[in-house]
Symmetry: C2
Subunit: 206 residues, 2 copies
């Protein structure tokens, strides 16, 4: 398959959101113009985005909402399940565990780690918090698809190196650090502090 740009994937997610609302309202078809309005783009871009993944829609009739919904979910890899290791048993991890969207997307937390002896061994949503020192031993026996990194910044890179070495291919990073990863490993960052500073920078440097 051709390399798909991050911005395309982002728009596919937005189209999916829109289609889900339309399906709830019982609508049967949708035009590329309507999808475009949600993705902040043009109808030509919608047709191009979808064309990467095969042939959709009928000229003049638009797209079938239920069909496109199923196909977009497949494209985005939803509907299957992913094994997740949470590195850091803190507040963010707790919030994520409660976040419906995490489970809805098939992200199933199967391992939780911390390095704090006061936290290791405690129960956490039915899982025992393990010592991060046993990462190698555990992940060789029970591989995971995704690691969620909620460690302090100063250890984030070294944990990432260990995860990459263990074959983890996807990392959701909450630590305020730019991770370096080998090719084939995908990192997505969630960091409110950085977004806030980008806004204050923009307001100050106009």
């Amino acid at each position: 398959m051709r390399k798909i740009a991050d911005s395309t994937v982002r728009r596919l997610s937005l189209y999916l959101r829109f289609l889900e609302e339309f399906a709830e309202q019982g609508m049967a078809t949708i035009s590329s113009e309507e999808l475009a309005s949600r993705g902040g783009t043009t109808s030509a871009q919608v047709r191009k985005d979808l064309s990467f993944f095969g042939s959709f829609g009928k000229r003049g009739l638009g797209y079938s909402v239920p069909e496109l919904l199923v196909r977009l979910r497949e494209i985005l890899g939803l509907g299957r399940s992913y094994r997740v290791a949470m590195i850091g048993a803190g507040k963010i991890g707790g919030a994520l565990a409660q976040y419906r969207g995490f489970r809805q997307r098939g992200f199933e937390t199967v391992l939780i780690y911390d390095r704090d002896p006061r936290i290791i061994g405690t129960q956490w949503n039915g899982l025992r918090v393990r010592d991060v020192a046993s990462l190698e031993e555990d992940l060789r026996r029970e591989p995971v698809d995704i690691a969620v990194l909620v460690t302090p910044a100063e250890v984030a890179q070294s944990v990432t190196d260990r995860l990459a070495h263990l074959g983890v291919k996807a990392i959701l990073n909450f630590a305020p650090v730019q991770l370096t990863v080998p090719e084939g490993v995908v990192v997505k960052n969630m960091n409110l502090a950085l977004e806030l500073e980008a806004l204050s920078f923009a307001l100050t440097n106009r």
Copy 2:
């Protein structure tokens, strides 16, 4: 001033984080190599990033931690205060209000809106939740610097149009929609669902 890339601003934020930790440990100087390790980049890139903003550091001695800290905070527009309007008085708004980093960066919520008659008029951290219908009237009298958008997706763009028309120059968007804004308005997106789907896409389409 030259246009600064988003990726540069992001690295400046990461350098700042690192410098804050170093300052806490009482360290006086830092090399561009050390800063580079935190920004996931090279020492040449660090020197280039900082050179946009004047002359820093001494050859062979590195950067003074306290000096660079003060300067980076200035560059990022920290240490002054920003008036924030929160559009949507829901869970995320509540979490933000509790988030220390929001106030630490001078983001002061002065107005809160909702469209739900059951929520309008209630007190919320000492502020009365106002009807979003009064946005124009209020913001003409009490302009704000930043709007935080925590509305449902289907109204996010129309609220954004109103905000841009009222002269709001910075938007932090939590709604799962790609906003279109006029030139001169900056939008930063925080959306966990989109990041999760980017990861599942990457794992599925390898």
